[in-house]
């Protein structure tokens, strides 16, 4: 028995080392981004960076508010489009779909999550951009709306899987109690099941927001990349990540421009970090409620 005990300890220790590696990598990345970005603020004030809207590296202007606004607009647009669709789909899969439909739809949705983002981008460039241009009769379809639509499709799998899991983890008792009171299927779904799964669903939405704000490749292809404050969803824009992708190849290492691009990366990094913490808190809370 003693030998087995040792084996357990060795495996345990090895696993711990591996999981700490992930943490160390995260910390290192954070250090690199901070190290690359913070020198900017010796030259440009934090408020000029966050609130300025002129980005002309050659003239030393590093106002990033138009990138931040574009990134937030794209993200909220995507959430607005995907949340109703995602939750409906999750409810259908968890409560209504017959077994065979579930067996086909769920893997199909999970497959959607595995498609590389460049493929989504090319699809959107060919289909969605033209669709937006013709539908809204605008000069170019490369708009924030086009980016929101493609992001909405990309984050659907996250919202659907997490929402479905949350709805399915609501204890049977809740459902049976509701039926026992004479509630119909629909009343049970929208008055009992969805509210009970609420924190889990919200956690999924937050996770999806993090994914949307960081997505680069699909967005850069369809958003037009115009360094001007967008006036609405039908304007082109440029997100934080697309600015980095477009300019990092040219920025001279260690120049102010280079530092500024790292700072552009710092913004979504902090937002996503914050969102992930919030999301995992909500998930834990959800689990505790039904434990």
């Amino acid at each position: 028995m003693k030998k087995l005990f040792d084996q357990e300890r060795v495996v345990g220790a090895a696993l711990m080392v591996f999981s700490i590696t992930a943490l160390v990598i995260l910390l290192l990345i954070m250090l690199f981004i901070l190290d690359g970005g913070l020198p900017l603020f010796n030259k440009v004030s934090v408020s000029d960076f966050l609130l300025g809207d002129k980005w002309v590296p050659a003239k030393g202007l590093f106002g990033a508010s138009q990138f931040i606004v574009a990134a937030l607009l794209v993200t909220f647009g995507a959430i607005l489009l995907s949340v109703p669709l995602g939750i409906s789909c999750a409810v259908f899969l968890a409560e209504i779909a017959p077994g065979w439909a579930k067996r086909i739809v769920r893997p199909a949705i999970e497959l959607l999550a595995g498609i590389p983002s460049i493929i989504y981008g090319v699809f959107a460039l060919i289909i969605i951009v033209s669709l937006v241009r013709v539908t809204f009769n605008v000069a170019t379809g490369e708009t924030i709306l086009a980016a929101s639509i493609v992001l909405a499709i990309m984050i659907l799998p996250i919202i659907i899987s997490i929402s479905q899991d949350s709805i399915e983890s609501v204890p049977r008792l809740y459902k049976e109690g509701s039926y026992a009171l004479g509630a119909t299927d629909w009343q049970t779904i929208h008055r009992v099941l969805v509210p009970a799964a609420g924190p889990g669903i919200v956690a999924g939405i937050i996770l999806a927001m993090g994914r949307a704000i960081g997505e680069t490749m699909a967005v850069v292809l369809v958003i037009g990349n115009v360094e001007k404050m967008p006036a609405g969803l039908l304007d082109p824009g440029e997100t934080l990540t697309s600015a980095i992708l477009l300019e990092m190849g040219e920025a001279v290492v260690k120049s102010t421009h280079y530092n500024a691009l790292f700072c552009l990366g710092l913004v979504p990094f902090i937002l996503v970090l914050f969102m992930s913490v919030l999301s995992s808190r909500l998930t834990t809370k959800n689990k505790a409620r039904f434990a």
């Binding site: 460039l125 000069a139 037009g224 115009v226 992708l245 300019e247 990092m248 190849g249 040219e250 260690k254």
Partner: protein
């Protein structure tokens, strides 16, 4: 911090979607304008010399110059001359001219502007945002959608120095990370006007005559078309070894045939 730049370069190579083979004996990185010539030449050269492998990567002229300056690749491809900062940072770089490129101003084939000619000043007014509607040029009442390359692109810096003349391109212009992306956008949008290397001209877009001259081999050679430039392969010091042989090959008749096949203009 060296590590950071290595990661960045790696990332950029991945983004450009054409990472070279690990085992390549010679890696050429940089300008996406020069890329089709070098890629084709590398294919032919490797066929003639089966024991050598040549990797070709994109990244843009600036990236190519930086990588050859830092020694991470043997040859950098550039569609512009070295800037004064680049000369200062890497004084030992040699610039080898391998072909002539010319920039075409392009519109969608359904745009009737393709039948007329613009002056350089008109092109400048269009791209600076002074002219915003095709009706100001005698066309239909449609908004002009400008399409330009990203900051740091060799094609863009050529366009800015040859056309814009210290005027800024309008901040309403859509920015594209590659010439192919410009062609794609212009071919799909009848309101769009953009610029790209003559090598990217095909049936999906139409060039506009500048000062009455359409871009072509003859007009560039005769110096009557105003927007042309040389393309370079950059090496550390005089080209030697495999890099030297490859550049010699590009300058040979066979190499210059490839230059022509890819839609660029042979050196005389």
């Amino acid at each position: 911090m060296k590590a950071v730049s290595v990661f960045l370069v790696l990332g950029l190579v991945l983004f450009s979607g054409c990472a070279g083979k690990d085992s390549a004996d010679l890696v050429i990185a940089g300008s996406t304008t020069v890329q089709p010539i070098v890629t084709r030449a590398a294919e032919v050269y490797s066929k003639e010399h089966p024991d050598t492998s040549i990797g070709v990567e994109g990244g843009g002229s600036g990236t190519g110059i930086r990588m050859v300056g830092e020694g991470s690749v043997a040859v950098g491809a550039s569609s512009r001359e070295l800037s004064s900062e680049e000369k200062r940072a890497h004084p030992d770089l040699t610039v080898n001219t391998i072909a002539i490129d010319c920039i075409a101003i392009v519109v969608n084939p359904s745009n009737n502007l393709s039948n007329s000619s613009l002056s350089l000043a008109e092109v400048r007014d269009i791209f600076s945002g002074k002219i915003t509607n095709y009706k100001e040029l005698g066309g239909p009442d449609r908004r002009i959608v400008l399409v330009e390359r990203e900051d740091g692109s060799g094609t863009r810096s050529m366009f800015e120095s040859m056309v814009m003349n210290n005027t800024d391109v309008s901040d309403a212009a859509l920015q594209k990370p590659a010439s192919g992306a410009i062609r794609f956008t212009v071919s799909g949008n009848e309101n769009a006007i953009g610029y790209l290397g003559i090598g990217y001209l095909d049936g999906s877009i139409k060039p506009i005559a500048v000062n009455g001259v359409l871009p072509s081999e003859e007009s560039v050679r005769a110096k009557s078309y105003p927007l042309s430039r040389d393309l370079y392969l950059i090496t550390k010091g005089k080209p030697s070894g495999l890099a030297g042989e490859f550049i010699d090959y590009l300058l040979s008749d066979a190499g210059q045939d490839i230059v022509k096949e890819e839609g660029f203009i042979r050196l005389e």
